[in-house]
C-alpha cells in the first residue's frame, strides 16, 4: 500500500482531504492507524518466515513467551492507547454546547434541508453552511433508512425513520463540497447526492434567505 499515496488522496469525497477540524482529526487518526497496521502486518509476515526458515533461532524464545508476548503483551501495548485516543477524538466530535442547527430530512431519493434559525427556509439537495462555525445537523428520514455523509467534513450518521440523530459539522473555509447517502436505500441510492455550499459567516444568512421556496430537484448526471 506504500505506493498508493501516489494515486492521490485528493477527491471531492475523500476522507483524506479534510475541509474541517472534525474530518481533520479523523484523517490524522486514519493515517496513524493505517501506517501502524501496515507495519504490524509486515512484522507478522516477517515473524512467520523467520520461524519457518530459522526455527532453531526462533526456538530460543520459549513457547510460553511466544504466546504471552504476542497474544497478550503486543495487543496490550497497542489497543489501550488506541481506544483512549479514539474516545478523546470522539468526544471532541460530540455535540456539547448549543450551536445553530440545520435539519436534514432524507427521502427516496433526495435530501431536504431546513434552517429553523432562518425562518424555516428550505433547500433540496443543497446544503448551505457557514464557514468556521460548528453546526448541528438533525438527521431524520421519511421512508427508509438513509445516511447523511459529507466525507470532507465529518463522519456519517444514519437517517432512521422515527428517530432523530444529531451530527456536528464544521467547515473551515467557504467553497463547494459534496455529500451523499451512504446507507443503501433502493433503486436511486447511487444518485442520492447533494451539494454543500460553505459561505463566509457574514454571507451565510443572506444565502439562506435567498432560498425562500423549496428549489426544484436539480438535474443530475
Amino acid at each position: 500500500m506504500a505506493a498508493l499515496p501516489l494515486l492521490g488522496c485528493a477527491g471531492e469525497l475523500s476522507v483524506l482531504q479534510p475541509a474541517g477540524p472534525i474530518a481533520g482529526s479523523i484523517a490524522t487518526l486514519s493515517w496513524v492507524m493505517m501506517i501502524g497496521s501496515l507495519f504490524l502486518t509486515a512484522l507478522m509476515t516477517a515473524i512467520f518466515f523467520f520461524v519457518v526458515w530459522w526455527p532453531r533461532r526462533a526456538a530460543r524464545i520459549s513457547a510460553r513467551a511466544w504466546i504471552i508476548g504476542g497474544g497478550l503483551i503486543l495487543p496490550g501495548l497497542v489497543l489501550p492507547p488506541l481506544v483512549v485516543a479514539a474516545v478523546v477524538v470522539g468526544e471532541r466530535m460530540m455535540p456539547h454546547d448549543p450551536v445553530p442547527r440545520i435539519e436534514a430530512h432524507a427521502q427516496q431519493f433526495f435530501w431536504t434541508f431546513r434552517y429553523p434559525d432562518h425562518g424555516g427556509a428550505e433547500t433540496r439537495d443543497l446544503l448551505h453552511l457557514p464557514a468556521g462555525q460548528p453546526v448541528d445537523i438533525h438527521i431524520t428520514a421519511e421512508d427508509v433508512m438513509h445516511a447523511f455523509w459529507v466525507p470532507r467534513l465529518a463522519g456519517k450518521l444514519d437517517a432512521v425513520p422515527g428517530h432523530t440523530n444529531v451530527l456536528r459539522l464544521q467547515a473551515d473555509t467557504p467553497g463547494r463540497l459534496e455529500g451523499l447517502c451512504a446507507e443503501f436505500c433502493g433503486l436511486g441510492h447511487s444518485h442520492m447526492r447533494f451539494e454543500v455550499r460553505v459561505h463566509a459567516p457574514d454571507e451565510f444568512a443572506s444565502a439562506v434567505a435567498a432560498e425562500t421556496t423549496p428549489s426544484a430537484p436539480e438535474a443530475r448526471p
Partner: protein, 829 residues
C-alpha cells in the same frame, strides 16, 4: 480378538452400505452427507463468484451501461447472501460432518437422519434462492435486509419474502447440525478420549456449534417477525405504529456478528490441526488455544452493535462496543502466536497447505487490523458503508475462511480420495489467488477512503475512483482464474494422483488411521485413546483397528454400532445403534419445502396443512425407532459390557433436547429483548389500547400449562412402577388442548388488533410462541402413546418419557413467562 481384516471389512460394509443409484437419496452416512454439503457449498461458491464477477464488470468503468440498478441490487444482495448462508456455513458444516467422527474415533454422528434432513433443507432453501435469481425476482434490499426498505411498503414484490423464507429454511439446517455436532462431540468419542485429550479441531467445532445454537435464533426470530409484518401487517418494525427499524438491525447483528466467528473458528480449527503436521510437532499452547476460542465465542456475542455505530447509539454504549471489539484482537493473537510458536519449536517443512497458511497469515492479519481500526468509532463513522468496509470483510472472510479452507482442501484431499497430491497446478493456482485477491481488495481500501460508498451500481468519472475500480476488477478476474485452476487441480489429483498406503503426511490424528477413501463404517473397531489425540501413530493404530482389536470389532445383528461415552471423561457408557439409510429425511425435507413454498406464494391453508403433515410424518416415523425389547448389558469388546443407548442413563437424545431447548429459549429471550427494546426505544408509545383479559382466562391457561409437567411425571412414575402411562398422558393431553384453545380465545377476545400497534403485535407473538410450544408438547404425548402401545417403552427403556418431561418443564416455564409478560406489560406502561 484378532480377526481377518478382509472378512471384518466385508461384514461391516454390508451392514453400513448405502444402496447405489436412486438409493443414494436415502443416504444418512456422515461421509456421504458431509461430502454432499461440501460439494453443494462449492457449487454455490461458484455461483456467488460469478455474481461477484458481474459486480466487478459493472464497476470496472464509470457510468457503465452493463447492468441497471434493478439487476445490480439483486446481484450484490445475492452475492452476500449466497456466500454467507449457502457457501460459508454449509461448507464448514460439511467439513465438520465429514471429519469429526473420523477425528474423534467414532463411526458416525449421533443423529444421521437429522444431518440428512439438514442437507435437504439446505439444498431446497438454496434452490429457492437460486430459482428466484434466475426468475429475476431475487432479494434486492442488501444481505442484511434493513427495514423499512425490506418492508412490504418499499419492497412490495416477492423478492424479500424469498430471502426471509429461503434463508430461514437454510437455517433450520444450520440449527439441526449445530445440535447434532454438539451432542456428537460430547457423547460420541473414542473410549478414553477425555475432553482435554480431544483433537483441537473438536474444541473448535464444539465452540462453533454452541455459538450456532444461540447465534442463529435471533435472526430466525427476526425473519419470522419481518415475514409476519410483510404478510399480515403486524407492525414490529414500523415506527408509525410503535415498531422500530432498529430492532431488526439489532436482531440481525445479534446473529450477524457471531456469524463471523462461526465462520472463522472452524477454519482456525483446520489451521490448528494442519500447522502441527507441517511443523512436525504437536500444537503448542493447547490449553491457551482452548481458552482463547471460548473467550472469543463469548466476546463475539457482546459486540454486535459495532456494525451499527452510525445508527445513533448512546455514547457510553459506543465506548463499550468499541472497547469490546478491539479486545477481540487478544484471543485471536493468542491463537496466531500459538501457531507461530508451534512452527518455531518444530521442524517446519514446506508444502502446498503451508503456502496457503502463509497466504492466510498475511491477509488475515491485515484484515484483523483493519477490524481494530473499524472498532475505533470516529474512524468507523467515516468509512462505514464504504468500500473500505467491503475490503475489510473480504480480507477477514477470504483470509480467515477461504485460504484456511484451501489449506484444508490440500491437506485432507488425500484422505478423501486416497490419492497423493501433485504440485504442478497447485503452486501457480496459489499465486494467482494471492495476487488476484490482493490486487482486488488492497486497492479497495483506498477506494473507500476516497469516499466510494458500497452498493452503488455506478459512479462518475470525476469522483476519482476510476483507476482504483479498474484495478480491482482486473484483480477479481485473476482471482477467479485462480479458483478455476484449483478446481482443475482437484479434478486431476482425483483422476491421476498416486494411491498411498496410509498417513501420507505423517499426521498424528485418527482420521489417518482408517482406510482411504473412507469406508462407510469408518473404523472396523474403535480405538482406546490414552493420550492427547493429536499425538497418535496412525500407521501403527490403523492395522490394529482393521483387525478388529479395538472395541466393537464385530458385526452383530445387522446393527450399525458405535460407542457412547461420558461427556467429560470419555469412559464408554453405552452402545449406540445408529439408523440405517432411509428416505424419511428426504420426504420430511420435501414436505417442509411445501410449507415454505406455500408461505412464499401466500397459500396459507396449504402451508398449515403441509406443516401438520410434516409434524405427523415425524411422529409416525418415530413409531418404531429404538428397540422393541430390553437387551440388558451387551459385550462391547475388551471384556466391557454396556447397555444399549435405549437403556442408558445418559443417551444422546436427552442432551440433544437440552440444546434444542437452549435454541428455542434463545428465540424467546430475543423476543423478550424485542418487547423491552420497543417499549423503551420505539417512537409512538404507549399504545392506544391495551389488553384487559381479567384473571379467569389467564388462570386457566396457566393451569393447562402446569398440567404438562405434572402429567409427564405421572406418566413416568406410572411406567417406572410397572404400571401404564395412560393417566399421565391423559392429563398432559387435556392440559395441552385446554391451553391451546384458551390461548386462541385470549388472542381473539382480549388482545387488541395486532395490526394496530407493536405492543399488540409483540404480545401476539409471545402468546403464539406459547401456543406453538404447547402444540409440540401434544406431539410428544401422541408419540409417547403410540410408542407405548407398540412396546417401545418399558421401565428400562424410559427415554421417551424423560424427553417429554424435559419438554413439558420448558413449555410450562416459557409459557408462563410469555403469558406474564404479555399480561404484565400494560401495567408497566
Amino acid at each position: 480378538m484378532s480377526q481377518d481384516p478382509i472378512r471384518l471389512h466385508k461384514a461391516l460394509s454390508r451392514i453400513w452400505a448405502t444402496a447405489p443409484g436412486f438409493g443414494r437419496a436415502a443416504a444418512v452416512n456422515h461421509s456421504i452427507v458431509g461430502m454432499r454439503f461440501m460439494i453443494t457449498a462449492a457449487f454455490f461458491f461458484a455461483v456467488g463468484g460469478m455474481l461477484a464477477m458481474l459486480i466487478r464488470a459493472q464497476l470496472a468503468t464509470p457510468q457503465s451501461a452493463f447492468i441497471g440498478p434493478e439487476i445490480y441490487n439483486q446481484i450484490f444482495t445475492m452475492h452476500g447472501t449466497i456466500m454467507m448462508f449457502l457457501f460459508a456455513i454449509p461448507m464448514l458444516e460439511g467439513l465438520a460432518i465429514y471429519m469429526l467422527p473420523k477425528l474423534l474415533g467414532a463411526r458416525d454422528l449421533a443423529f444421521p437422519r437429522l444431518s440428512a434432513y439438514g442437507y435437504w433443507c439446505y439444498l431446497f432453501g438454496g434452490l429457492i434462492l437460486l430459482g428466484a435469481l434466475f426468475a429475476g425476482v431475487a432479494p434486492d434490499s442488501g444481505w442484511f435486509m434493513y427495514t423499512p426498505l425490506s418492508s412490504s411498503t418499499y419492497s412490495p414484490g416477492i423478492n424479500a419474502d424469498v430471502w426471509l423464507l429461503g434463508v430461514t429454511f437454510v437455517e433450520i439446517s444450520a440449527m439441526t447440525l449445530a445440535v447434532e455436532l454438539v451432542v456428537s462431540i460430547l457423547k460420541l468419542r473414542a473410549p478414553g478420549m477425555t475432553l482435554s485429550r480431544m483433537p483441537i479441531f473438536g474444541w473448535y467445532i464444539l465452540v462453533t456449534a454452541l455459538m450456532m445454537v444461540v447465534g442463529f435464533p435471533p435472526l430466525i426470530l427476526g425473519s419470522i417477525l419481518l415475514e409476519m409484518e410483510r404478510a399480515f401487517d403486524l407492525p414490529f418494525f414500523d415506527p408509525n405504529r410503535g415498531g422500530d427499524p432498529l430492532l431488526w438491525a439489532h436482531l440481525f447483528w445479534l446473529f450477524g456478528h457471531p456469524e463471523v466467528y462461526i465462520i472463522f473458528l472452524p477454519a482456525a480449527g483446520a489451521l490448528s490441526t494442519i500447522i502441527p503436521v507441517f511443523a512436525q510437532r504437536p500444537l503448542v499452547g493447547y490449553n491457551a488455544v482452548v481458552i482463547a476460542i471460548i473467550v472469543l465465542g463469548f466476546l463475539s456475542f457482546l459486540i454486535w452493535a459495532h456494525h451499527m455505530f452510525t445508527v445513533g447509539i448512546p455514547h457510553l454504549s459506543l465506548a463499550f462496543f468499541s472497547f469490546g471489539s478491539a479486545l477481540v484482537a487478544v484471543p485471536t493473537a493468542v491463537q496466531i502466536f500459538a501457531w507461530l510458536a508451534t512452527l518455531a519449536h518444530g521442524r517446519p517443512r514446506w508444502d502446498v497447505p503451508m503456502l496457503y497458511i502463509a497466504g492466510f497469515l498475511v491477509i488475515f492479519v491485515l484484515g484483523g487490523l483493519t477490524g481494530v481500526m473499524l472498532a475505533i468509532v470516529p474512524f468507523n463513522w467515516q468509512v462505514h458503508d464504504t468500500h473500505f468496509v467491503v475490503a475489510h470483510f473480504h480480507y477477514v472472510l477470504v483470509g480467515g475462511f477461504v485460504f484456511p479452507m484451501l489449506a484444508a482442501l490440500y491437506y485432507w484431499l488425500p484422505q478423501v480420495t486416497g490419492k497423493l497430491p501433485m504440485h504442478r497446478l497447485s503452486v501457480p493456482a496459489f499465486w494467482l489467488l494471492f495476487i488476484g485477491f490482493n490486487l482486488t481488495f488492497l486497492v479497495m481500501h483506498w477506494t473507500g477512503l476516497l469516499g466510494m460508498p458500497r452498493r452503488v451500481y455506478t459512479f462518475l468519472p470525476d469522483d476519482g475512483w476510476t483507476w482504483l475500480n479498474l484495478t480491482s476488477s482486473i484483480g477479481g478476474f485473476l482471482l477467479t482464474m485462480g479458483f478455476a485452476l484449483v478446481a482443475m487441480d482437484v479434478f486431476l489429483q482425483r483422476k491421476l494422483g498416486k494411491a498411498f498406503r496410509r498417513d501420507p503426511w505423517q499426521a498424528a490424528t485418527l482420521e489417518w488411521a482408517m482406510p482411504t477413501p473412507a469406508t462407510p463404517y469408518g473404523f472396523a473397531s474403535l480405538p482406546r485413546v490414552e493420550m492427547r489425540a493429536d499425538r497418535l501413530s496412525p500407521r501403527e493404530i490403523g492395522p490394529e483397528l482393521a483387525a478388529g482389536r479395538g472395541y466393537l470389532g464385530h458385526a452383530r445383528n445387522g446393527w450399525q454400532e458405535t460407542l457412547g461415552v461420558h461427556r467429560v471423561t470419555g469412559e464408554p457408557d453405552q452402545i449406540i445403534i445408529l439408523p440405517r439409510p432411509t428416505f424419511l429425511p428426504l420426504w420430511t425435507g420435501l414436505s417442509t419445502l411445501v410449507v415454505v413454498l406455500a408461505m412464499l406464494f401466500k397459500l396459507y391453508p396449504l402451508a398449515l396443512a403441509a406443516a401438520i403433515f410434516t409434524a405427523g410424518l415425524l411422529v409416525w416415523s418415530g413409531r418404531d425407532a429404538g428397540q422393541p425389547r430390553d437387551h440388558g448389558l451387551m459385550p462391547a469388546g475388551h471384556g466391557l459390557d454396556l447397555p444399549l443407548h435405549t437403556e442408558a442413563a445418559d443417551p444422546p437424545p436427552l442432551l440433544a433436547l437440552a440444546f434444542a431447548l437452549l435454541a428455542t429459549g434463545t428465540i424467546l429471550a430475543s423476543l423478550l429483548f424485542g418487547v423491552v427494546y420497543l417499549w423503551l426505544n420505539a417512537p409512538n408509545w404507549p399504545p392506544p389500547e391495551v389488553m384487559a383479559p381479567g384473571l379467569v382466562l389467564p388462570a386457566f391457561i396457566a393451569l393447562g400449562l402446569v398440567a404438562g409437567p405434572v402429567g409427564a411425571r405421572l406418566a413416568r412414575g406410572g411406567v417406572a412402577r410397572g404400571g401404564t402411562p395412560w393417566l399421565g398422558l391423559g392429563v398432559q393431553a387435556l392440559g395441552s388442548v385446554a391451553a391451546m384453545v384458551l390461548l386462541v380465545l385470549l388472542i381473539q377476545d382480549a388482545l387488541p388488533d395486532p395490526r394496530a400497534h407493536a405492543y399488540a403485535a409483540t404480545s401476539f407473538a409471545l402468546l403464539g410462541y406459547a401456543w406453538l410450544h404447547v402444540g409440540i408438547a401434544l406431539l410428544f404425548v401422541i408419540s409417547n402413546a403410540q410408542r407405548w402401545a407398540g412396546g417401545y417403552i418399558s421401565p428400562r427403556r424410559i427415554l421417551d418419557l424423560r424427553l417429554t418431561r424435559l419438554w413439558q418443564d420448558y413449555v410450562a416455564g416459557a409459557g408462563l413467562v410469555a403469558l406474564a409478560v404479555a399480561m404484565g406489560l400494560p401495567a408497566l406502561l
